[in-house]
Structures are given as structure tokens and as C-alpha cells.
């Protein structure tokens, strides 16, 4: 058990990144790529070990460990400690992050052509930031890792994306940063106010959650909304989505996979950990707002996706729809809905990054994202289509893919909710069922426009040519217009989606006890 150090889990990617950046490391792109890929796989295996030794009936924090400096805690005078730990929900998300980073590193092979050294180290630093958020037990530690994400994301989006991506990267970072300032404000107010009541300066989440009930209700609501704003931009909840959508569309494929796969999870993790864990009373009061946000995400996102002609944009909006279902589950405040939300988040991460991978593969070959310029690709890249269809039907929510279970759980969790009036809940359920149909509409529209119909003349060539920096390079793709690494990525995602669709309890059992604890706390 001693080999399972949570500090090693979190910080080893950063150390690997430093190693890649250090002058000792050979400046050879193949070596860098192989090193990063191997590291990603080893890291995933290591995090699987954490699952292996995890006791799912333990309702507290597991693997808890404090990082100390010179034998004192991090900011001792401020009561801020660098303590990491995992409960069931964190563990699930850590596994998801590790898996998606591994996938993204494998997928980078065909997508990334320049500046390998910096690219791979930035992705690994990003992994540290993600993992830190999930494992932080202290609000300021959480905030530190939360803001740390912005730096790699800014460079990843701006340096390897489209022509206008530096603008959208800037927009994303500024937008997110402004929102997280509100979050910071909320956290500071919480921190000092709890100090004024309990007399102990502490940033520890558990001790903060104990002192909340003495706050005035309006005061709790103020902090609640400050925090919610910060999380809403990350998820994103609909009125705050523009910058996120643009950045996801214009980033290079592995980066958009990570952004669409992990960032919503981080946002909703924040809602679970802080809004639910710290303000149960207020959350009970404002849960309908969350449901409304979820439904708006579903319907509005689906309508937006239907109106788009850019395949990557459709995919980005599809992500909003998926997270909308998770929001509904969270707002329902039932055990079923909560479990469904966590399940949906994990699955949405897999599905949306899969969809981004498919569109990315298509975009790489065809150099266009307009649906009107695509068509009949099924004959040029049949394997991509086959694997894409698994993911596509996962997104639609076909039974025996995980998408169905998640949506089913969320909807039935919503119906079971105790929120009054009953009519509101029922109408929300009906509207989100309509959203299910619209969801199927745009995803099938995307796939039909891209893959079916007669093949366009420019795609008929045996090997697909494409240029980069003005140089004409002919790349003969070994088999059916898709490389081996891309097949691996897509099939891993597909396998995961089907696996959790057939054995949902394999995933649910990890965090059910934790969610019970959180919901019990909500009822107090």
C-alpha cells in the first residue's frame, strides 16, 4: 500500500513535464512523443491501482496525505494546508482524467506537427492541474490548481489551434478568470466569516462545512452564487458558454477532447463539493434553478447544434447537451439523480471527446469543417465511421451504451424528486425528453452529412494529401484513411462506452457510498 502515494499520482505528470523540458532530454520528436505516451499509460495503470485498493464502503476520504514544507504545513499562519485525499467521486473523476489524458496523448501523434517538446509538457502540466482539483481538500489548494489550468490551456489553444485561435484562447482565459475571481471572492468571504464565527482560521473543506449552518441564509446564498458563477463558466452553463464553445472549436483536436471531456467534470465536481457540500440549505432552496439551467442547456444547446454547419461546432454544442443532463440530475436532489449525474459526467467525458476525435480525424483528412463540403466519407474511411457510430449512438443514448443508462437515471431521478410543485418537475422531464429527440436529430445529421451519400470527388484519392505551412506533404494512410493510433483511441473510447452500458454497476458501486453521505448531509 505504500506505493500508492497520492502526491506521486498528482505531481508525477508535472515532474515528467519538467523532464521533457529539461535540456537533458533529447530533442527528438519521436522520443518525446513516446516518452509522453508511455508516461500516460503508466499513469493510468497507476491510477487503476488506486481503484484496486479502494474500499468502496469507506465513506470518508481515502489515501489522505498532507504535503509539508520544512515540517510545517503549507501556510500555517493562515490555516491553509496542502492536504490531498480521495473519496469515491474524486476517484472516479481522477480515473477519467487519467484515461482521457492518455487518450489525448495517443491521439496527438497525428494531430500535432510542431513544437512537440512544449506541447507534451503542457499537456502533462494540465494533468497535474486537473488531478489537483479533484484531490484538493482545502479551498485555497483547490483554487490554486483551478487557476493553474488556465496557463496550459491558454498556450495549448493558442499555439496549436486554428488561425484565429489565439483570440479565442485569450477570450476563454479572460472569461474564465473573471468568473473565477467571483469564486475567489466567495471563498474568501467564506473563509473569513467562518473564522469570525469559529475563531479558527482554516481552509479545510470538512471543517468549513461544519460551520455553515450558523450563517444567515442570504449570506450563504451570496457565497453560493459567487461559487456557482465560477463553476458555471467551466461547465459551461448556457448563458456563460460563448467563450468556451469558441475555444473548443478552434483548439487542436486532442486539446478540445480534453477541454470538452474534463472541464465540465471539473465544474460539476465543484458544484458537488462546494455548493452541495457546504451549503445544503441553500442548495435545497435553489435546486430548481439548477434544473432549469440543465433543461436550457439541453434544449438551447440542441437547437444551436441543429443550426450549425460546422462539424466541430455541432460537437461542442453536443457537449453542452450532455452536461445539461448531469445538471438535471444534480438539481433533482435524489440519490438516483445524483448518481446519474456523476455517471453522466464520466460518460459525457468519454462521448464528447470521442465525437471530437471523430470530427478531428475527418478534419485532418479533408481540411474542411463545413458539412456542405463533406459527404460520402464512409467509403474513404469506413473504420473511422464504424468506430464513430458506437460513440454517436452512445451520445444519442441507445441502450447498452452508457449514454442510455445515464440519461435514464437522470430523468427518473428528476421525476422522483421531492421538489414542489410537481407540475414543474413533470414539465421539465417532458421538455428534456423532447431534448432527447433533438439530441438524436443533430448527431445523426452530423454523421449522415459527413459519412453517407455519394462520395465527393476530392475524397476519392487512395491516399489523402494535405499540406502544412504551405508545404505539400503526401501521407499515405496505412489502412482505410485512419492511422493505428487513431483506431486505438476511438476503439478504447467505444469499448469504455459499451462496457459501462452493459455493466453500469461496475462504475456506480465506486461512488455510491460517497453520494449517500453527501445526500444525507443535504437532508440535515
Amino acid at each position: 500500500m505504500n506505493i500508492l502515494s497520492i502526491l506521486a499520482l498528482i505531481f508525477s505528470p508535472a515532474i515528467a513535464a519538467l523532464l521533457i523540458l529539461s535540456p537533458v532530454f533529447p530533442n527528438n520528436e519521436i522520443k518525446i512523443r513516446r516518452f509522453a505516451k508511455t508516461f500516460g499509460i503508466l499513469h493510468f495503470i497507476y491510477s487503476m491501482l488506486f481503484l484496486l485498493f479502494f474500499n468502496p464502503t469507506n465513506f470518508g476520504w481515502s489515501y489522505q496525505k498532507e504535503l509539508t514544507f520544512l515540517n510545517t504545513s503549507w501556510l500555517k499562519t493562515l490555516g491553509v494546508t496542502a492536504t490531498f485525499g480521495m473519496d469515491g467521486i474524486s476517484l472516479v473523476f481522477v480515473l477519467l482524467t487519467s484515461f482521457l489524458i492518455m487518450i489525448a496523448l495517443v491521439a496527438s501523434k497525428s494531430m500535432i506537427r510542431t513544437k512537440h517538446r512544449i506541447y507534451y509538457s503542457l499537456v502533462l502540466v494540465l494533468e497535474t492541474a486537473f488531478l489537483g482539483v479533484f484531490c484538493a481538500k482545502d479551498i485555497f489548494l483547490f483554487l490554486l490548481f483551478w487557476e493553474l489550468q488556465l496557463i496550459p490551456i491558454y498556450f495549448l489553444v493558442s499555439q496549436w489551434g486554428d488561425k484565429t485561435s489565439s483570440y479565442s484562447a485569450m477570450k476563454y482565459v479572460v472569461y474564465t478568470f473573471v468568473a473565477s475571481m467571483f469564486m475567489f471572492l466567495g471563498m474568501l468571504v467564506l473563509y473569513f466569516y467562518s473564522f469570525s464565527i469559529s475563531g479558527v482560521l482554516t481552509g479545510d473543506i470538512e471543517s468549513l462545512s461544519m460551520s455553515e449552518s450558523v450563517f444567515a441564509l442570504w449570506f450563504q446564498a451570496f457565497i453560493f452564487f459567487c461559487l456557482l458563477l465560477g463553476f458555471a463558466v467551466k461547465i459551461p452553463i448556457i448563458p456563460f458558454h460563448t467563450a468556451v464553445a469558441k475555444a473548443q472549436v478552434e483548439a487542436v483536436t486532442p486539446v478540445s477532447m480534453l477541454m470538452a471531456g474534463v472541464l465540465p467534470v471539473i465544474g460539476e465536481y465543484g458544484i458537488i463539493r462546494f455548493n452541495m457540500g457546504l451549503f445544503p440549505e441553500v442548495f435545497n432552496y435553489f435546486a430548481p434553478i439548477l434544473i432549469i439551467f440543465g433543461v436550457v442547456n439541453i434544449i438551447y444547446g440542441a437547437c444551436l447544434a441543429l443550426a450549425q454547419t460546422d462539424i466541430k461546432k455541432i460537437t461542442a454544442y453536443a457537449g453542452f447537451v450532455q452536461t445539461g443532463f448531469a445538471l438535471i440530475g444534480l438539481g433533482a436532489l435524489t440519490e438516483l439523480g445524483f448518481n446519474g449525474a456523476v455517471f453522466q459526467l464520466v460518460i459525457a467525458g468519454l462521448i464528447i471527446s470521442g465525437l471530437f476525435m471523430v470530427t478531428g480525424v475527418v478534419y485532418l483528412r479533408t481540411k474542411t469543417r463545413e458539412v456542405s463540403a463533406l459527404g460520402g466519407l464512409s467509403q474513404v474511411m469506413p473504420i473511422c465511421m464504424c468506430l464513430g457510430f458506437i460513440i454517436c449512438f452512445g451520445a444519442v443514448g441507445v441502450p447498452f451504451t452508457a449514454g442510455f443508462i445515464a440519461k435514464f437515471m437522470n430523468l427518473s431521478g428528476l421525476i422522483l424528486s421531492d421538489i414542489e410543485p410537481q407540475k414543474f418537475i413533470v414539465s421539465m422531464a417532458v421538455v428534456s425528453a423532447i431534448g432527447l429527440v433533438l439530441n438524436a436529430c443533430y448527431i445523426l445529421y452530423l454523421f449522415h452529412k459527413t459519412f453517407f451519400g455519394s462520395v465527393l470527388s476530392q475524397f476519392k484519392a487512395e491516399s489523402v494529401q494535405y499540406d502544412e505551412d504551405g508545404n505539400e506533404i503526401t501521407v499515405v494512410y496505412p489502412k482505410r484513411g485512419i492511422t493505428k493510433s487513431e483506431i486505438i483511441v476511438l476503439s478504447l473510447l467505444g469499448i469504455a462506452i459499451i462496457l459501462f452500458g452493459i455493466f453500469p454497476n461496475a462504475l456506480l458501486d465506486i461512488f455510491q457510498v460517497t453520494s449517500d453521505v453527501i445526500l444525507d448531509f443535504m437532508k440535515v
Partner: protein
């Protein structure tokens, strides 16, 4: 025998998973490039269907002679929160009958398919998806609770989508597949909502571990409990949502267009879509949930209205179509409308018999049409056909028997039609009786119209292709099945599929004679119109069957429903989506952009203050200092004024 069948039924999970295993086997078979054998694929699939037939015969035997009429096996699958979903099998009379029908038809369709796609490049894919469809439909037929029904219901939709999409390079085929899936998705969503509603009451009702209201085995109890527990409106909604699901799968009035468009699919798929899918999905669900519907007169009325509209409208539309596949598609919608009406009127057993009989005969007709179309080099328009009886007498005979049976003159179709008529007639429903007779008349008209146009008259100039025997043999078997069905109504069917509170009735001989007379009238009129140049009929033909005639135009263009749908989709939904997109681009995003611009303008103004003169900077700071001072003094003075 009973023990053997009992053992088989208890191992029905294996039955469920067998097609899945075969699908995997076929994938492996197809993946090995040089060894892969088409015969092996066929034999595997046929073997599965054969086992299915044996299983269902045993189940039938079991249900007929065993003491406890139902056998249930359950396996807890999803267990979270208040939700306990189990997958399982329930073998009772209804599922045994439909399972037998399904496996026999599926066996024959697979034989036919082998002949149909023998030469295709993607042969294996076709059989993979056929087996997967087999899996999903088996799961659906044997499902023991509503959640399982939802799961396999949606799954069957997916595999149907892939089967219609078999020729995916053809745009019309892939569009039809998309349309089919999306329209069925509406029904899926409705059914899902209904089931979720039931889950709610299930949780409210019992704190026990199992979801008691969802299980089929105690549906009678569920219906009564629910009826006593909830208000009439809620009960209506919960009962209505599955009806919507069934309406999409059975191609009823607003949701019919998929079955018409799906005629782009290969003929065996078409046969499955029109013959098997409505029986195994929509029809089965309606008959399963009948205890729920019986309690609410509104639901029954709704069934009647929807069925009546569909039956009349689509029979009328089918009368003027020229595409043979479309005629059968509209015919399917119309006949299933009759099934809906029959359920609405309370003829439970008769409706079930009618449904299955229609399934068999429709498969027969569609497959026969497939043979003809294949031999005519994929020409669908019956205008270009004619006089095929000379070149393929056997097929012509089968088609004649099939259309005679479907219109109600022969075999199982006769039995089914008399059963329906008896229920209508004996319940003193004069208007309904007239309506149903009118529908019978129209069906006879359009079926024999096809026969006369295709097989009689002048011989067409199109050169005929040879059709493989794999495609012809199943047709004979289907005729035999139809004949056999006519004899086993009372002994087998009526004792297995019945509803306790509804008594079974049969038509008197006089009624039968009236019905036959009307049908023969229809055949005579058709014969006169299309076969003999009798002057008066020709006059009518010129008057009525004129392209300019409004009645004809309505019929030919299917009452312009498709156009209205298109208008709604293009003008309403897409406009709405574009409007949302506009809002998103210019208002939601605009606010963000404006905020950014404001910051820029402000920073520009502030940077103007930065004029490089040190004294100006000092002046600003002094000004700010003064402002702070004034504020402090103001606060102090205010405090002293208030008296703190």
C-alpha cells in the same frame, strides 16, 4: 415433454444471448479475409432461428399444458438509488405466440435474404445486423418488465436503422434510415417518459426492493392500484405515453412516413419492417399493457380515433399509388389502423389474431414483390409492368393467394377479418361496422389492382432476370403458414391470447356472406377497371382516376401530409433553431463582446490621462486623496449628525 420445455424455458437467457453470440461469430468470420464463407454465416443465423423456433414451440406447449401459465426469470442488472432494474424473460401465452410467429418468419426471411444479398459486397454486414435485430426483438418479446421493453425497443430501432442503411451510399436510403430512426425516437422518448412515470409510482407505492409496478407478471394488479391511487388525468397521461410509442412503431397517422420512406431498404428488411416490427414492438406492447388501457375510456377512444383515421386515410392513399413498395407500406399503416380500432373496441383476441395474420401475409406479399422487383431489375413502378403471369406463374399464384388472404377472402385473413367484423357488429356499433367494411373494400381494391396490373394484361418489355430459389421457397412456406393459421385459431390462439373480462365472439354465417360479397364486389370493380375495356367503367376511370381530379390528387400525394411535415420542419423547427443561433451569436455573445469593448474604451480613455507630465500624475493622486478625505469627513459628519 413438459419437463424438457420447462428446462428450455428456464434457460431462456441462453436463447436471448444466442443471436448476439452468432453476430460476434459472423464478425469473426467476416474478419478473416480468405477463409470467410457466406454459407457458414447463413447456417449460423439459420441455426439460431431454428433454435428459436424449437424454443418457442416448447414455450407454446408449456403454456398450453402447464399448470402455471407463465414462467419468469429475472436478473438484477442496474441497482442504484431507488432504482432496481432487472433484465429477464417472461414466457406466457402472448409472448410464446409472438415468439413463435417471430422466429418462424425470421427464419424464412433469413433464407430469403441469403438469396437477396448473395452477390453483395457487404453480405456479412447484413447478416450481422439481422442477428442483432433478432437479439433485440427476442429480448423485447420475452421481456419481463417495462424497463427492459424500453431498452430492447430502442435497441431494435438502432438495428433497424442500420438495416435500412444497408446501401448507405445511396442518399435516399440513408435519409430514410435517419428519418425512421428519428421518428421512432419520438416514440422511444414517449415510452421512456411513461415508464419513468410508472417508476415514480412504483417507488411511491412500495418501499420494497423490487419495482413492483413495472413487472408484466402482475400488470392487472398494477393497473388497479394505479387507477385507485392517482387522479384520472395522471392515469390518462401515463397510459397514453406508451400508446404514442406504439403509434410510431406501428406507423399510425402522424408518424407513418418512415414506413413509406423505408421502402428504399432491401426487400427482406422491408418485410421485417412491415410485418415483424409492428407485431413484436408496438402490437405486443399494446396487448401487454391492455389492462391499463381498459380502465380508461379516453385511451380506448384515442386508439379508436387514431386507428380509424389511419385505416381510412392510408387505404385511400394506397389505392392510387404506382410504386409497389409504397402501396404495401400504406397498406401496412392502414391494416395496423384496423388493429388499433379493434383494440379500442375491445376485441383483444381478435386484434391479436388480426395482427399476426397481417404480419405473415404482409411479409409474404412484400417478399413476393421483392422477387418481382429483383427480376425486373429494380423497377418499382407498376405502370411499366404487366403480364408477368406467363413468365413466372408460381409467383403470380402466390401473390394472388397472398393478396386474397390479406384482403380477407382466403385463409387466415378471412378468419381475422371475420373476427374483427364480429366484434364490431355484435357491439351494435353500426358506424364502425360500415367504416371497417369500407376499409376492407378499399384494401381488396388496391391489392387486386396491383395483381391485375403486374401479373395480367399486356406483357412488359423489360427483360426478366433469374431469381434464386432461396428467394422463392420461403414464399411457399408463408402461404402454408397462413393456411395453417386459419385452422389453429380456436384451439391454440384463443386459449393463449385472451383477456379475462372480455368475452370472445364469432361472426354468424350471414355476416360472413355479407363480408365476402363486399370483397368480391371490390375485386370485380378492380377487374373491370383494369382488365376489361367495358365502356361504363372506362368512363368512370377517366373521370375519377384523372390526374386533375382533386380526390385522385389527394390520394396520390397522400393528402399532402409529407409536404405539411416538411413545411413544419423547415419553416418552423429550422427557423427556430436559426433564430436561437442568431440570439446566441449576436445577443449572448454580443453582451460578452460589448463588455470587452467597454473595457477597451475605458482603458483607452484612461491611457489618455497618461500624458507623461509628472505633475499631472501628482494632480490625479491629490485629487483622489481629496476625494478620500471628503468621504472620510463626510462619513464622520454623517455619523455625528445621526448621533452615533
Amino acid at each position: 415433454m413438459l419437463e424438457v420445455s420447462g428446462f428450455l424455458i428456464n434457460s431462456s437467457f441462453a436463447m436471448l444471448l444466442l443471436p448476439l453470440w452468432v453476430a460476434v461469430m459472423i464478425i469473426l468470420n467476416a474478419a478473416v479475409p480468405f477463409v470467410s464463407s457466406r454459407k457458414l454465416t447463413l447456417n449460423l443465423s439459420l441455426g439460431v432461428s431454428l433454435i428459436g423456433i424449437i424454443f418457442s414451440v416448447c414455450a407454446l406447449y408449456f403454456c398450453l399444458f402447464s399448470q402455471n401459465a407463465a414462467a419468469e426469470n429475472n436478473l438484477l442488472w442496474l441497482n442504484t438509488g431507488d432504482l432496481r432494474v432487472s433484465l429477464g424473460t417472461l414466457v406466457d401465452g402472448l409472448s410464446a405466440v409472438i415468439m413463435l410467429f417471430f422466429s418462424v418468419i425470421f427464419f424464412l426471411v433469413q433464407v430469403y435474404s441469403y438469396g437477396y444479398v448473395k452477390e453483395e459486397k457487404n453480405f456479412h454486414r447484413f447478416f450481422i445486423f439481422l442477428n442483432l435485430l433478432n437479439f433485440s426483438l427476442t429480448g423485447l418479446i420475452l421481456s419481463s418488465n417495462l424497463v427492459q421493453t424500453v431498452i430492447f425497443w430502442e435497441l431494435s430501432g438502432v438495428f433497424v436503422y442500420f438495416l435500412i442503411n444497408y446501401w448507405y451510399t445511396k442518399k435516399s436510403a440513408s435519409d430514410a434510415a435517419k428519418k425512421t430512426y428519428l421518428i421512432n425516437k419520438i416514440g422511444d422518448a414517449a415510452l421512456l417518459l411513461g415508464v419513468i412515470g410508472l417508476i415514480y409510482f412504483s417507488v411511491i407505492f412500495s418501499s420494497a426492493e423490487n419495482m413492483i409496478l413495472l413487472s408484466y407478471s402482475n400488470l392487472q394488479f398494477t393497473a388497479e392500484t394505479l387507477y385507485s391511487m392517482v387522479s384520472g388525468k395522471t392515469f390518462l397521461i401515463i397510459a397514453m405515453l406508451p400508446v404514442f410509442g406504439a403509434m410510431t412503431k406501428c406507423a399510425q397517422f402522424p408518424f407513418h412516413s418512415w414506413v413509406v420512406d423505408a421502402t428504399e431498404a432491401p426487400a427482406p428488411v422491408n418485410a421485417i419492417l412491415q410485418g415483424v416490427i409492428p407485431v413484436a414492438t408496438g402490437g405486443l406492447l399494446l396487448m401487454r399493457l391492455y389492462p391499463l388501457f381498459v380502465l380508461s375510456t379516453e385511451v380506448l377512444a384515442w386508439l379508436k380515433i387514431v386507428g380509424c383515421i389511419s385505416a381510412l386515410v392510408f387505404a385511400y392513399v394506397a389505392m392510387s399509388q404506382n410504386n409497389i413498395k409504397k402501396i404495401f407500406a400504406y397498406s401496412t399503416a392502414s391494416q395496423l389502423g384496423l388493429f388499433f380500432v379493434a383494440l379500442g373496441i375491445g376485441a383483444y383476441t381478435g386484434a391479436g389474431y388480426f395482427l399476426i395474420s397481417h404480419g405473415v401475409l404482409k411479409v409474404l406479399l412484400v417478399l413476393t414483390a421483392g422477387v418481382v422487383v429483383c427480376s425486373m431489375d429494380n423497377e418499382n413502378d407498376i405502370k411499366y409492368w404487366g403480364g408477368l403471369r406467363q413468365s413466372m406463374p408460381g409467383v403470380a399464384l402466390i401473390f394472388l393467394l397472398g393478396s386474397g388472404a390479406l384482403s380477407g377472402l382466403l385463409f387466415s385473413g378471412f378468419c381475422a377479418n371475420t373476427l374483427l367484423l364480429a366484434n364490431f357488429y355484435l357491439q351494435d356499433n353500426f358506424i364502425w361496422t360500415v367504416v371497417i367494411l369500407f376499409v376492407f373494400f378499399m384494401s381488396a381494391y388496391y391489392l387486386f389492382r396491383v395483381y391485375f396490373l403486374v401479373f395480367e394484361g399486356e406483357k412488359s418489355k423489360i427483360e426478366l432476370k433469374k431469381v434464386s430459389n432461396y428467394m422463392k421457397c420461403p414464399l411457399c412456406f408463408l402461404v402454408v403458414i397462413s393456411i395453417a393459421m386459419a385452422f389453429c385459431y380456436k384451439k391454440v390462439f384463443a386459449s393463449l391470447v385472451y383477456f379475462v373480462s372480455l368475452e370472445q365472439v364469432s361472426l354468424s354465417d350471414g355476416g360472413k356472406v355479407v363480408m365476402l360479397f363486399i370483397l368480391l364486389c371490390a375485386v370485380y370493380i378492380t377487374f373491370r377497371l383494369y382488365m376489361s375495356p367495358y365502356s361504363k367503367f372506362m368512363l368512370i376511370k377517366e373521370r375519377v382516376l384523372n390526374k386533375e381530379n382533386l380526390l385522385y390528387k389527394l390520394s396520390y400525394n397522400c393528402f399532402y401530409i409529407e409536404e405539411v411535415n416538411k413545411f413544419l420542419l423547415d419553416k418552423f423547427l429550422m427557423k427556430f433553431c436559426r433564430f436561437v443561433d442568431f440570439i446566441d451569436k449576436y445577443i449572448v455573445n454580443g453582451v460578452v463582446v460589448i463588455l470587452g469593448l467597454t473595457t477597451r474604451v475605458f482603458s483607452y480613455l484612461v491611457s489618455k490621462l497618461q500624458n507623461g507630465n509628472v505633475q499631472s500624475y501628482l494632480a490625479y493622486s491629490v485629487f483622489i486623496l481629496a476625494a478620500i478625505m471628503v468621504v472620510i469627513v463626510g462619513i464622520y459628519l454623517l455619523g455625528s449628525l445621526v448621533g452615533v
